[in-house]
């Protein structure tokens, strides 16, 4: 029940801030769009990352203290490994845009790598099928829509 409430909270909050990003992207000021997208990313990650970690920990705790349990822990980690790899790449792209946005005066930093990393994370996390994974997918789908509004981004996250 608690997870369901948290999930709904994360979803609604993520959608709200992402809607702000979408609106800002249609605005002429590119810096405003970048700031709004970063704010949306921050808000979504602040709710979703703890959920992902809680589920990851719970999956490992469910394994017994036997040799089979050791194999079970290993399997959990292997199943989650692609998700964490993509999440680390996403955080690196996020940090790069954040640093560039701090230094920006009139030229907005390129959002394409961040939006592409969000899409990659969506594809890596979705197969887990957990509550938090569904929140990640929902948030990433919204960021995918933002990407469509950034004319310089190619499908694979590059720059035209």
């Amino acid at each position: 029940m608690v997870l369901l409430v948290k999930h709904r909270y994360a979803m609604s909050w993520g959608f709200a801030v992402a809607a702000v990003a979408l609106l800002a992207c249609t605005h002429q000021n590119g810096l405003a769009a970048v700031d709004a997208t970063l704010a949306a990313t921050s808000a979504a990650a602040a709710t979703i990352e703890p959920l992902l970690l809680t589920e990851y920990e719970a999956a490992q705790r469910a394994c017994p203290l036997t040799p089979e349990g050791d194999a079970c822990v290993k399997q959990v980690r292997e199943r989650w490994a692609p998700a964490w790899v993509s999440y680390r790449a996403f955080r690196a792209a996020w940090l790069a845009v954040d640093v560039a946005a701090d230094a920006a005066h009139d030229t907005p930093p390129d959002l394409c790598p961040l939006l592409a990393a969000a899409g990659d994370m969506h594809r890596a996390v979705a197969p887990l099928g957990t509550t938090a994974a569904r929140s990640v997918v929902a948030a990433s789908l919204v960021l995918d829509q933002v990407r469509l509004l950034v004319p310089s981004c190619t499908q694979d996250g590059g720059v035209r």
Binding site: L38, E57, W84, R88, D98
Partner: protein, 60 residues
């Protein structure tokens, strides 16, 4: 032409101050979104490993 040079310098200084003021305002208004430096997944793995080792040792 010293007046022209002074005028250009003054205009440049004013423009620089305006850009700095705008930049400071923008930086203050931005939501700082830098991701946390810690890796939560690694921390979970280390915690689980330590707990399992401690419980196994206690059972022996």
């Amino acid at each position: 032409m010293s007046w022209l040079s002074a005028l250009i310098q003054a205009a440049g200084a004013a423009a620089g101050a305006a850009v700095q003021a705008w930049s400071a305002t923008r930086a203050n208004q931005r939501v700082k979104s830098a991701p946390p430096p810690v890796d939560g997944a690694d921390q979970v793995d280390a915690k689980i490993d330590a707990e399992r080792a401690a419980r196994k040792a206690a059972e022996k």
